[in-house]
């Protein structure tokens, strides 16, 4: 007689909520008349993310002590739960941003279903506790995202983005898989904790496997040199999807990277810490320098997300409790900023009916005061200026680097930020300093498309971005609690 493992449904509740939403949305797709799908789709999806958010918060509260559940396939701890909170929040905002998107309205409901499914996948991914669930979670939300990228299938750009993302993603996944296989083979274990326990730290195959796993995860983090898909995918995908990818994917990937490295490979710390540090530096350099001359705003933001991958890998390389805290904290304003920035781009895109470039951003700040100010705030936040959480995030990242003895990472970060000032403030300059005389603005001046929900979403992002500067204590406490659940 087989006795099934006890299933801790509560640990799975966020995923389940989102899956339920996805299923419901498929129903909507089938049964609700197309006219109403836009509304119902958004509503159900938002409800799903909201529920997941709440459940994740409760889960975070209720999982004081990390313990593996359901045949040790996943771990129930605050590290994962907090990440789920962030993912769910990003998803919620992404729904708001997507509401007015001029998408093929014959697949609205599926679109939201896939969004929810992706969210569920990430929520599962961040809890993964063995190589198998790791791989499966990765594929779960990746596949959803491939489709989302390409969902505007009549647009050559969207299609291209989807295909590129898929191909490179498949290679990355295969690499991760092969690495997992090697690790499994050398240690004979799939579960992270046991892998660490098994030792074999100087085993050649294990090291190769580690390299491959770092590569696979680095691809998801979009850290250089595994980043090259990022600009194209971000630019080609529908902007709300880009927003979701830029925030939620990064959260999941970084959180998991940290978890895997510190739980499964503590023995090889000296190895992967340096590797991550170097990757961080490369990402900082590549992302920032490449962004300098870009004209397309989405592309600028894409490169900036590469550079921020580098920035958030600094605490990963630090590999200490302060680092874990720093990473978790940084993710909060970062997610808000990238969501908001892409949201503003989406709004501008809709009123222009064309891709947003530095040129046609001219005068935007004066025409749409709220969106303009919000964008300026996000740029300042990316740049790490005070009065935004980005500043505190950078500060913690530097602190972690110093704490772990990698002072040169501070230097790298400082130089990178200096460079980034050029294009971040360049966006502000475009919005405010240039008059919109030569602007070929279709409905300019006239009533802009109603962006109530998008505006609300952007407002939420602004609130988080600025709030995380003033209310540091609660956020950092949560992050600290999460960090404590990792073996540091």
């Amino acid at each position: 007689m087989i006795q099934k493992p006890a299933v801790d449904w509560f640990a799975l509740s966020p995923e389940l909520a989102l899956l339920a939403a996805a299923g419901l949305l498929l129903m909507v797709a089938v049964f609700v008349p197309r006219a109403a799908q836009r509304f119902f789709g958004a509503a159900v999806c938002a409800a799903g993310f909201a529920t997941a958010f709440v459940l994740a918060v409760v889960l975070d509260d209720r999982s004081e002590h990390a313990q593996p559940v359901i045949g040790d396939a996943i771990v129930r701890d605050r590290w994962g739960a907090l990440a789920q909170v962030l993912v769910a929040g990003s998803g919620l905002v992404a729904v708001f941003l997507a509401y007015r998107e001029r998408m093929r309205d014959d697949h609205i409901a599926e679109y939201y279903a896939l969004l929810a499914a992706a969210g569920a996948g990430m929520a599962f991914f961040v809890q993964a506790n063995n190589l198998m669930t790791l791989f499966l979670g990765l594929e779960w939300f990746s596949i959803a995202l491939y489709v989302l990228c390409a969902i505007d299938i009549d647009l050559i750009g969207s299609l291209e983005a989807g295909l590129k993302y898929l191909v490179v993603g498949a290679v990355g996944a295969a690499t991760l898989l092969f690495g997992s296989a090697l690790v499994y083979g050398t240690t004979g274990e799939l579960e992270f904790g046991k892998i660490a326990a098994a030792g074999h730290t100087d085993d050649a195959l294990l090291v190769v496997g580690l390299a491959m796993i770092i590569t696979g995860l680095g691809f998801k983090v979009s850290a250089a040199p595994f980043h090259m898909w990022t600009p194209d995918a971000y630019q080609g995908a529908p902007t709300p999807v880009t927003a979701f990818m830029a925030s939620a994917t990064k959260i999941a990937a970084l959180v998991v990277t940290y978890r895997v490295l510190v739980t499964a490979f503590p023995g090889n710390e000296d190895l992967w810490r340096v590797a991550i540090a170097v990757i961080a530096c490369v990402s900082l350099a590549v992302g920032n320098i490449a962004a300098l001359l870009q004209r397309n705003v989405k592309r600028i933001l894409a490169y900036s997300s590469v550079s921020h991958a580098g920035f958030m890998l600094i605490p990963v390389a630090a590999a200490n409790e302060l680092g874990a805290k720093a990473l978790m904290f940084y993710l909060v304003p970062y997610a808000a900023m990238s969501l908001g920035a892409f949201g503003v781009v989406a709004a501008r895109e809709r009123e222009l009916g064309m891709p947003v470039t530095i040129e046609n951003l001219a005068g935007f700040g004066w025409e749409r005061p709220f969106f303009g100010a919000a964008m300026a705030i996000f740029m300042a936040g990316f740049l790490g200026f005070p009065l935004t959480g980005g500043f505190i995030g950078k500060f913690y990242a530097f602190a972690a680097a110093w704490d772990s003895g990698y002072w040169w990472l501070i230097v790298a970060g400082v130089i990178a930020t200096m460079i980034s000032a050029y294009y971040y403030l360049g966006v502000v300059r475009a919005m405010y300093f240039r008059e919109s005389v030569e602007l070929q603005l279709a409905p300019a001046g006239g009533a802009p498309p109603r962006e109530g929900l998008a505006g609300f979403g952007v407002f939420l992002c602004v609130a988080v971005t600025v709030g995380s500067f003033f209310a540091v204590q609660p956020v950092i406490d949560a992050a600290a609690a999460a960090a404590r659940s990792l073996p540091l």
């Binding site: 779960w140 009549d154 085993d203 995908a237």
Partner: protein
């Protein structure tokens, strides 16, 4: 004697596997590549059997050889015969060189890693019973340790199905309020 037989089978299967793989990547016509992949799968199944993975081998043949390949062939047929005129050229010149170099490098590295422990921990093999890799054991594992993985796998399949529907569905004529094609390009 038995060993010799096993070795023979292994060699045959391995070479078939390798050649078919090379075929897949080198045929000009995707149709042939697909067929080569079937061969590759089959030979792999043999190897799996040698490794005592009966159920896996079966799954390989069924899932891949059955479902996936059929899908491939359908699509290829649907798209008609579009053979690449020059499969190896095009793209920047360094692409080919770099590709081969990178591939070779990775290969060498892995082989070195393996070699560094051949005759070492890799050589000793666990003693296994007859039931090793049998459907019961696999199924049991799927219901106990890897219950979640099992479920998740199905979810992944479901997601991909939805995706396939969304992508494959016939695109209607663009509404007038749509953004012009290639707008985000």
């Amino acid at each position: 004697m038995a060993n010799f037989l096993v070795w023979c089978v292994w060699f045959v299967a391995a070479f078939a596997c390798l050649l078919s793989a090379l075929g897949v990547v080198s045929f000009r016509n995707p149709f042939y590549s697909a067929l080569a992949l079937i061969g590759n799968l089959a030979s792999l199944a043999v190897l799996y059997l040698l490794l005592g993975g009966e159920f896996v081998a079966a799954g390989q043949v069924l899932v891949y050889g059955g479902a996936v390949m059929v899908m491939f062939l359908f699509v290829i047929a649907y798209l008609g015969d579009r053979t690449e005129d020059s499969p190896w050229t095009g793209g920047p010149s360094w692409q080919a060189v770099g590709g081969i170099l990178a591939g070779a490098a990775i290969l060498v590295e892995i082989v070195v890693a393996i070699g560094s422990k051949a005759g070492g921990s890799l050589s000793d093999e666990a003693e296994i019973g007859r039931a090793f890799g049998s459907p019961e054991r696999i199924g049991e594992l799927f219901l106990t340790d890897h219950l979640l993985a099992f479920e998740v796998t199905s979810i992944v399949l479901l997601v991909s199905a939805v995706g396939g529907v969304v992508l494959g569905a016939h695109a209607r004529a663009a509404d007038e309020d749509r953004t012009p094609a290639g707008a985000r390009g």
